[in-house]
Symmetry: C2
């Protein structure tokens, strides 16, 4: 790759904690951003120098103003440019001369508006490079770094805290800030609006949040990545040390269109993006209102060792709802040990339900703190990975009798103690959360968030479980082997490249077979007289015959496929018919011969593909064949190279995976063989960068092993290819 290595320190450190800031277009009009930014700096008490730039004003908010960047009395680190798009290139030169390392460009009217805007954006980037100024935006909502009192959005009522945000929507930031204000405990570290990402992209911003010790959770709203592959690399590094939460828009075609007219983002396949983000350890949330709950939960709570949850409820209805949501999220109800049930029975009334979900059935009405005792008992059970309290804790004194407040507070202290002692997450839903009663405020202050939606609490449980699983498997999983390309296969690819064609089917299969992928034992007949020997070699196996020609892409349509052939006469007849048909259909075709291959036994059809995605680079795809891929889009994607865990999760992610376990009387297929195949394909395409894309369709999966029935390898025609066999 041509990028600098991701371990470089982020350039954002040079100007996100600046000593001096210029506000270009500073204003006295309260509805203008040039006013708000000044207000934010002054109100929050920014400790460095503030230079408002406006030729018409002497002062802005009591701060001495300057007519232009050239007149500044000192160097600046950062400039906020609030003036219209066309003014930006000249201003950027001024920023560079004034010493600025970075500039934040608010104006819209760039690439998102069409070709003229795109041209202006290219000019901005060229000038910035030349002037040595890094650019945030254009078309950004701005930035803040609350711990450094750089609040260029002048957001009120936001607390400094440990959630970092990068959002391509300013309204999303506002919405999160208001939610945090309601929540009362959540605070933010740094915010950046990447806008059109003309210079700095999501990858760089995430790297900065990863390195920023004030940030405990990185949270991103993404319309599109500029360099998706680099983002995945950064995400893998950052998610190893802190949670990364992403909401990706564009789950539908309507959303993708809207995103493109908003930030000019090229949103690729949503399903692929989500798969690749998860592969890199990112917690992907599906709905925008899950962003803050999940970020807060991942920031405060332990990750879970596994997906076995114990539900503790003071009402059966909500226990039922919680069970539904858990199962939908792929979590499980832990099977409680006899000891645990016995211990629960000792503290609960006889009518309590001791199986998971545990329903205390009135046991807590007079002593709500018994819920805390039950949580401790559940957390002690080895079969429990996380404890989920569901119900009205915190509100007993409101619902029943004020005298219960003391006992509720005691319960809260027990929970806080338990949270310090255990390495299992305690996730708490209370229907009283919105009224913030004292016990819940106490929990929250002590780092135990309380959710007011069962749905959100379960998303947090799922994220904690997924993160725990990711951190465990990512370190231990074996990676796809690095294979050395074979010179003769490179020669084949080079020849195809030179002839501006793709690999012929037998060439593709031979390349795969050379690296241990199971391909049929097949042969190419170049003349009708070879068919006798071939027929004898294959004995009485039924054979398929396919035309071999770089000029015939759709073999079936040209009459170039014959199935179920037995014996020499049948082969000869098929050969004659096939050649006649192909020559009639594609008269100019150069026909090398016919491929004779034993008919594959019937199995479960799957497909394995590799594409080089413009955003994410080489990506492997796996799915069930035929209608499942085309109609149901039931496929899994992973970035290459693959770990064995990646390959396994590709197979188990398929919605119709029951098919692999055997349906309608069929035997279960050999999933581990498919995992091996995926690993080998990952190795092969890494070894041969000349392979532009690959399509094994179908692969027959069997109770033991598999067979690649058809294979296509498309050769990259844009780059020049060298091989042992030729001189460049």
């Amino acid at each position: 790759m041509e990028h600098p290595p991701v371990t470089d320190r982020s350039p954002l450190h040079d100007f996100l904690a600046p000593n001096a800031i210029a506000v270009v277009g500073a204003s006295q009009d309260p509805t203008k951003r040039g006013y708000k930014a000044m207000l934010g700096l002054v109100t929050d008490g920014f400790a460095g120098a503030i230079y408002p730039i406006n030729p018409k004003l002497e002062h802005v908010l009591g701060v001495r103003a300057y007519p232009d960047l050239a007149s500044l009395p000192g160097q600046i680190d950062l400039a906020l440019i609030c003036t219209p798009a066309h003014t930006v290139p000249v201003l950027l030169r001024g920023c560079g001369k004034a010493g600025a390392k970075g500039a934040v460009i608010l104006a819209s009217g760039f690439a998102e508006t069409g070709p003229a805007g795109a041209e202006l954006e290219r000019e901005v980037l060229a000038v910035a490079r030349d002037a040595g100024v890094r650019v945030i935006g254009p078309n950004t909502s701005g930035i803040f770094n609350l711990h450094h009192r750089v609040n260029l959005l002048a957001l009120e009522n936001v607390r400094p805290g440990d959630i970092g945000i990068v959002s391509q929507s300013g309204n999303m930031l506002l919405s999160l800030a208001l939610e945090a204000q309601q929540n009362g405990q959540v605070g933010f570290s740094t915010y950046v609006g990447p806008g059109n990402q003309t210079d700095i992209g999501f990858d760089d911003y995430l790297r900065y949040l990863g390195e920023d010790d004030k940030t405990r959770v990185a949270t991103l709203y993404v319309e599109g990545f500029r360099d998706g592959r680099r983002f995945l690399d950064v995400a893998r590094q950052v998610s190893a040390v802190k949670p990364v939460v992403v909401y990706k828009s564009g789950s539908t075609e309507l959303g993708r269109q809207a995103a493109s007219s908003h930030t000019g983002a090229l949103a690729g396949s949503y399903a692929m993006t989500v798969d690749l983000l998860r592969q890199s350890g990112v917690s992907v949330v599906q709905y925008s209102d899950e962003i803050l709950p999940v970020a807060e939960g991942l920031g405060l709570l332990q990750q879970a060792r596994g997906k076995r949850v114990a539900i503790l409820a003071d009402g059966g209805g909500q226990a039922t709802i919680a069970s539904d949501r858990l199962a939908e999220a792929g979590l499980q109800l832990a099977t409680l040990s006899d000891v645990t049930r016995q211990r629960l029975a000792e503290v609960l009334l006889p009518q309590a339900s001791l199986a998971n979900p545990v329903d205390v059935a009135g046991s807590s009405d007079a002593t709500p703190s018994v819920l805390a005792d039950c949580m401790a008992i559940l957390a002690d059970d080895d079969a429990v990975d996380s404890v989920f309290l569901v119900g009205m804790f915190g509100g007993y004194h409101l619902r029943f009798a004020e005298e219960l407040l003391g006992d509720e507070m005691r319960g809260a202290e027990t929970m806080i103690e338990l949270d310090r002692r255990t390495d299992k997450p305690l996730v708490i839903y209370s229907l009283y959360a919105p009224v913030k009663p004292p016990a819940l405020r106490r929990l929250h202050e002590a780092g135990l968030p309380v959710y007011h939606s069962i749905e959100h609490a379960v998303r947090v449980l799922a994220a904690l479980g997924e993160r725990g699983e990711y951190l465990q498997t990512t370190t231990s999983s074996e990676w796809a082997t690095t294979v050395i390309p074979h010179p003769e296969q490179q020669t084949v690819l080079a020849r195809a490249h030179q002839e501006k064609r793709d690999l012929l089917e037998p060439e593709a299969k031979a390349l795969l077979g050379a690296h241990g992928i199971q391909v049929p034992n097949e042969t190419v007949a170049r003349h009708i007289d070879e068919l006798g020997t071939i027929a004898r070699e294959f004995g009485d196996r039924a054979l398929a015959m396919k035309v071999v020609s770089k000029d015939i892409l759709h073999k079936s349509d040209a009459g170039g496929v014959q199935l179920d052939l037995n014996g020499e006469p049948a082969l000869r007849e098929a050969y004659t018919r096939m050649l006649a048909s192909c020559r009639a259909q594609v008269p100019e075709a150069d026909i090398e011969g016919v491929l004779i291959t034993p008919m594959a036994r019937k199995g479960t059809e799957v497909i394995v593909g590799m594409i080089r995605d413009p955003i994410f680079g080489p990506v492997l795809m796996f799915g069930l064949g035929g209608i499942f891929v085309e109609v149901l889009e039931d496929v899994a994607f992973r970035a290459i190279p693959l770990s064995r865990q990646d390959a396994r999760s590709m197979v188990s992610q398929i919605k119709a995976k029951k098919v692999f376990e055997g349906v309608r009387g069929a035997a279960a297929i050999d999933q581990e063989a498919l995992v091996d195949l995926l690993m080998k394909v990952s190795s092969v395409v890494t070894a041969y960068p000349e392979i532009e894309s690959l399509d094994l369709n179908p692969v027959m999966a069997y109770p033991s092993g598999y067979a690649v029935v058809d294979a296509r390898i498309i050769v990259d025609r844009t780059v020049s290819v060298q091989s042992e066999g030729e001189t460049a």
Copy 2:
């Protein structure tokens, strides 16, 4: 049906607005329900007589207490029984003598706990019937009727309003009440906890809410129905006059198990339940936190004429998110007319995006009321069914400048005026909703709810669109014809019943064919010598042969199916082989002969089934054949009888419906023919109640028409059947 007709007035009117109430087990202990109920009645100022019953107390909360029901000085309408389960039967007799029409039984310890509890519950029901007292519960959280000041839960801070609630979870009610309190505008009419539904079930409660003129929306949390068919009948009637919102738990196996240990509810298939509820006009919500937003929206807003939404946003990111959610919910973005775009251009800045989603791109920063003007323009467009405002309206004066408050208030008034003038719903999301700024409070007071989650707002839009579509189509759609059963088919069914067997395949097909369903032209050979004539009759068509025997259920396994037979010799050979094999496999089998049927042309395999569900009665099922049904459970259910709209929506609901439109080179199939088939099956199974279940699998669907390839009809063996051919 044996039920009284649903048009009866609900018995609940007799005691949900009582003149006198007894609280059995009234208490001075603030943690007891017998105290809370008294508190609720006294505090809320219940105008009728209150009789606390407790032999140990002279007064409760200043109200004169009585030792038992027999000592009461006057008649009662309603009794609340707060004492333990075993005391209930005796108390119910006392209630009857005291004149009570209804009793609310709080105690748990009945059917939900096991056989002994179930026995006690049966006793309770018997005594209640005998005493002429209707029972709410047992195992109920209680009731309230706020307009009548009957607040037996002593819920604080709930406003009387127009949302009626029936919930099998008391915590769910509490949660809704707290949410309503936060919301500030929502109020409730009547609440009932049905508990174990031993006497009164969801159907009766819904009927009451339908008849109650204080209730504008009926909202239900359901774990299981007692009589699902009756519920559907009531729901169809009620939803014609007011919205019915249902959250049904048990979407997963874990949830179903939890529900069963909570209220002893028998939850059937979730997918079936949801389909049948929607068929009856119910708005089904998927997540518990959508209940109140959807109920409020349906209560206050117009239903939409269709699913074409215009999004108006002041930020591109949230417009993108809104577009994603709309598309996921099956809604569409309206295509705005040129006139609309022109009118928008006149009021917005040049950088505004005028295609839907409309992004005002800063046009509202200094004049937020322009959003209201844009909403009016959008509502004028004939292509727009509903208008969705997304962004920060209401918070401009907080975000930008206090001076904007006046303009925001003007904007709110314009929206309110528009809402009065237009018959299209205006759905408003504001990220400032949680802080309730003045413009949003004004909107809310005037009946325009403001949502603080894009996700919830879209659920409301979807519910309004679905309700509009339902109300339009339900009145105009043609119903499946009533058919007169044929005497000879009744004779066939009666014979099968008598012989304790199901219909043979040719009998089943003949019955279907007699009512116009397209079955193959086929014949039964009872002797090998008939095969010659049969072969000649079918000419050169390939034939299938299947054994006909009531004793052979799995024909293929017994060697009882032979395909692709041509000509007399092949038929004879197959016949001999088949009979030998079947006799070897099932020696005792009584073989009637073999069915000879032309091989069905290859088509798209679908299945049509009918079962008599224990909860919902006769239900039709439709799906794609094979793996789609078994692995993906991609099937649609409708209660019989069917309307044409029901049948059409069954076909269009299938997730893999792209298959019907032609994939992988196949032609589109004749969907209207399938609709006809579904209508005819509905008519047939209605005409023959002796049919216990029916399975047409597969049916081949073709570009024109269809063919029923195999048919099974199971005969009800539990009832006695009469026919023309015999005397009972």
